[in-house]
Symmetry: none
Subunit: 224 residues, 4 copies
Amino acid sequence: MTLLAALHTTAPPAAPRRRKGERTAERILDAAEALFAERGYAGGKLRDVAARVGLRTPSLYNHFPNKESLYAAVLERGIRPVLDVLTEVVEARERSDRDVRRVVEKTMALVGRRPDIPRLIQHETLSGGLHLTPMLREWIQRTFARAYEMVEASSASSRWTPDQFPLLVLAMYHVFVGYFAIAHVYRDLNGQDLLSERAVAEQTRFFGDLVATLFEEESARDGR
Amino acid sequence: MTLLAALHTTAPPAAPRRRKGERTAERILDAAEALFAERGYAGGKLRDVAARVGLRTPSLYNHFPNKESLYAAVLERGIRPVLDVLTEVVEARERSDRDVRRVVEKTMALVGRRPDIPRLIQHETLSGGLHLTPMLREWIQRTFARAYEMVEASSASSRWTPDQFPLLVLAMYHVFVGYFAIAHVYRDLNGQDLLSERAVAEQTRFFGDLVATLFEEESARDGR
Amino acid sequence: MTLLAALHTTAPPAAPRRRKGERTAERILDAAEALFAERGYAGGKLRDVAARVGLRTPSLYNHFPNKESLYAAVLERGIRPVLDVLTEVVEARERSDRDVRRVVEKTMALVGRRPDIPRLIQHETLSGGLHLTPMLREWIQRTFARAYEMVEASSASSRWTPDQFPLLVLAMYHVFVGYFAIAHVYRDLNGQDLLSERAVAEQTRFFGDLVATLFEEESARDGR
Amino acid sequence: MTLLAALHTTAPPAAPRRRKGERTAERILDAAEALFAERGYAGGKLRDVAARVGLRTPSLYNHFPNKESLYAAVLERGIRPVLDVLTEVVEARERSDRDVRRVVEKTMALVGRRPDIPRLIQHETLSGGLHLTPMLREWIQRTFARAYEMVEASSASSRWTPDQFPLLVLAMYHVFVGYFAIAHVYRDLNGQDLLSERAVAEQTRFFGDLVATLFEEESARDGR
DNA sequence: GATGAATGAGGATTCATTCAT
DNA sequence: AATGAATGAATCCTCATTCAT
């Protein structure tokens, strides 16, 4: 666009500036996400959420009707995109050995950018909760079933007995989620940041290798 | 009962009867362990602990000076034996491929009987906590280092690059802990009890297979 | 419009169209009246008032400076006409037995159309309040005195001793006010609407009969 | 009891001193009754209740689980005895004209000692409430029906038409309750204490006269 | 004139803790 | 050792009110 054209243009900015309220709600969600990820629902005090945003507690109620709604909104916003990617990837019909690695890469990339999500989920599963998120509930069942099918269809069936499939799926789930959930402590203990781009890349590769190893044709292996 | 008979029956029972106070303290620890395992430190209210024991809240203070001490005692009592077994097993000098499976079996057996412990630990790691248990802190570092050595010493070194060793240890940790931590929700979703003796036995075998697979010599594998 | 015409048309229209703001204020008063009548000052939340009008709370402040003013305005608007009628009727010099019934009819007719007013008044008297309405205060004293005179002047003086006059006035007041104040519950309990035109008419007749009975010459009555 | 006997006696004191907690609960009820009578449920703040008893707010929760329970307890404790007396008196089979006055005397005596009760009831009826007290609800309906029968059975039936009976009952109710409910304001306006023993006695006589007048045989009366 | 957002004050309630019994 | 009672601190939430838009 020439300077002249610019002078004449009164068009709204490309990215229409969001209303102040919406931005505040977003910041509240950010703060709440971090807090709930760290301390869980019971431990995440609204006062702290507000403080992180630079508000007084009652102001939160201008954006969310109560604590539970805020929590639900955090989960919804955080989990939805992960579910979407996973769903898409999991439901894809055509697949090959390479695809498995693609699934890993895609989900790792996504979650690597929102490492709070796995912690939120782990808090939920720990509390045996999920009462707050039928969304999560349904999704888990659906995806778990799908993952099961994937295992079944893969060459893993030569290495694992069918009754081990669920355990294998669970194991992969734990390796995936656990990595992010433990990052905070890990840094605290070892000084290394598992959430750095480099670390996540390594874990992505490792996780891919892991899955590949577990799903590959059985090689000569000492009997059990 | 005749006096004579009485003389012969006053013998202390095989399990030396503990004083009432000690028994109460034990019951409190039991209740607290279950509660903290379920809801974490913030979510576990003393009132609920007391209720499960059939006491009023203030009575707890006859046995533990405050909530934090009770929590610490729960962790100590719960984690110590696990640490001991792990330490013992990890420090054993002589080892072979078979030993790895023995480590798995021993720890699974132990933890299978105290499934609250993994949950407690996961709560702790999630909160980035551990501030309450230097014990846990130190142990983790020590054990992690040892596990690293084990991996290094094993034939796994042909399958994994050295910088993947920590990730491998982490992965095994998550598979191990996650299984128990998720049992509650799993039952809720699938109706199956991961903590039943049979289920734990299956997981033990699966976990052994998993470790064996990951530690075995590299077979012909499609390049990455 | 010519100036001349203007001179002739400045006459207020039959129904002088009020400005929008005034109409809103009126609607706020209506909503507030109903709410305060039902729940009293403390129980009547501005948010609810606004909701009934289809506004957000802050909008109320464009019409009334604060809650107390709104409340005062409700009382003023509601009570003033009643006071006026009563005053007029009470101050009328010439009277007869028939007049008493006329007073009853006039006030009943008026209040029957604004049944919230008695409830507002009862809330006020219950709270020992009236601090909000010196207006009400003064009026009550004045009217009570006047009513007292009326009793004294009537043939009731043959039936009641002078020290009973105040009690008689009070009693009539309670019968009058209570009927409307209890209508809500009555409907809830009996399903009948004391505020229907027919019901009010019956009560008017009854109240007239009651007053007539109490004010009539003493008949042969069993001694006390 | 001789001194000797006294020495040997370990029997609890004649009037078994109530436990401290019970006395506190009673004092809380007293304070709450006064406060709720004055300001209604919404206006009666727990902080004020506690302050009147010399406690901090949370201490109330050692005696009542929440505000609503406290309110219910106040109503229950206050209304129950009145209901009992009324029920007894109303259900008595044998009656005469004199009995009506006896009913009046008995209830006036009772309520005269607990003048908060009518105010509580008026608050309830005003709010169209009663949702908190099915007790009150049921009682009102039962008693109203009974009162209706009494009117019907009395000589009042010559003076009032059957469709006026309910209005007559209502009127008596309002005269009765209103007297106490207005006492606070009355003192404020006139300086006279309607709750003094003397005043209550006068009102008792007046109310008796009133009822007698309304229930007496119709005398020569100017037609309506 | 209407409203989204913010907030001080306060209101019910919970919680860990203390203390006298 | 157990507990009823009391409480400071804190939690979630409501409410009246203000202000910029």
